[in-house]
């Protein structure tokens, strides 16, 4: 299958938005903050342990998966207006993280899956990455790879 065909195939299974409730179910996640906000929808996902990558999330409505459980992940997400954070590989948020997430109304969950598997599960169910949103910006080009 050539690149165009692959991306056409992907379009077919694309979902425009996914509720945090579905993210929770798909990732078998435990919710630490935001149990009352699970009807909130996300329109894309991203996974990173680097603060600067998190800050490059192009728009709002993105769920961030991270393997780093430090209070900085919460602060960075608030700054980047990320819609929700999921810690991977069963990492549990610290009290400090929970307090900050509560203060800023940021949903915070933890999934037992690894980063790769968690991203794969969401992707398989139709949630896409932030690349297409980036393509809309004329200054950034994204190659379909590999």
């Amino acid at each position: 299958m050539n690149e165009a065909a692959v991306s056409q195939e992907m379009e077919k299974t694309d979902v425009k938005a996914m509720a945090l409730m579905d993210v929770k179910d798909i990732l078998k996640a435990e919710v630490f903050v935001g149990e009352d906000n699970l009807a909130t929808t996300v329109t894309a996902g991203t996974g990173s342990d680097l603060m600067s990558d998190m800050l490059r999330v192009p728009k709002t409505g993105v769920v961030l998966l991270s393997g780093l459980n430090t209070v900085q992940v919460v602060r960075t997400s608030v700054i980047a207006a990320v819609a929700a954070v999921v810690l991977v590989r069963g990492k549990r948020p610290t009290q400090d993280m929970i307090a900050q997430a509560l203060e800023h109304g940021l949903p915070l969950m933890s999934t037992p899956f690894t980063m790769f598997t968690a991203c794969g599960r969401l992707f398989y169910r139709g949630l896409r990455g932030v690349e297409r949103k980036m393509e809309e910006s004329p200054t950034v080009s994204v190659k379909a790879g590999p």
Binding site: S52, T76, I79, A80
Partner: protein
Amino acid sequence: MSQLTKRFSILARDFSRAGEVSIQVQGTLKKIGYDQDIIRRASICAYESELNVVMYGEGGHLQLTLGPDEIVLDVVDEGPGIEDIELAMQEGYSTAPAEYQEMGFGAGMGLPNIKRNSDSLEINSAKGKGTHLRIGFKVR
């Protein structure tokens, strides 16, 4: 609208508090009621530059100026300065030690991210003389 200035101190290498200044900047901009896009861009620039001061700048301050046409962030430190600004503007170039990178910082994206999210950026820095960033956002 008259001009409003707010100044915040930034402590060196205090990672437990790093980012708090930017959260305050974000809160101030939200309270005034700027549009989401400019708040988001200004918050990201504040955060990247605050972290730079925490990591490299030996502490310093961030000054927020709200004018009728422009939001300005002046970020000043008395650290070692940037030896090669052109190199520091390249994505992925970093002088961060491994311990910062393990915390998710120092990926070499700070200044490029600031440039990307701002409407104007002036960098005044020289080896041994500290760094002053003036980051501007046009209010439309």
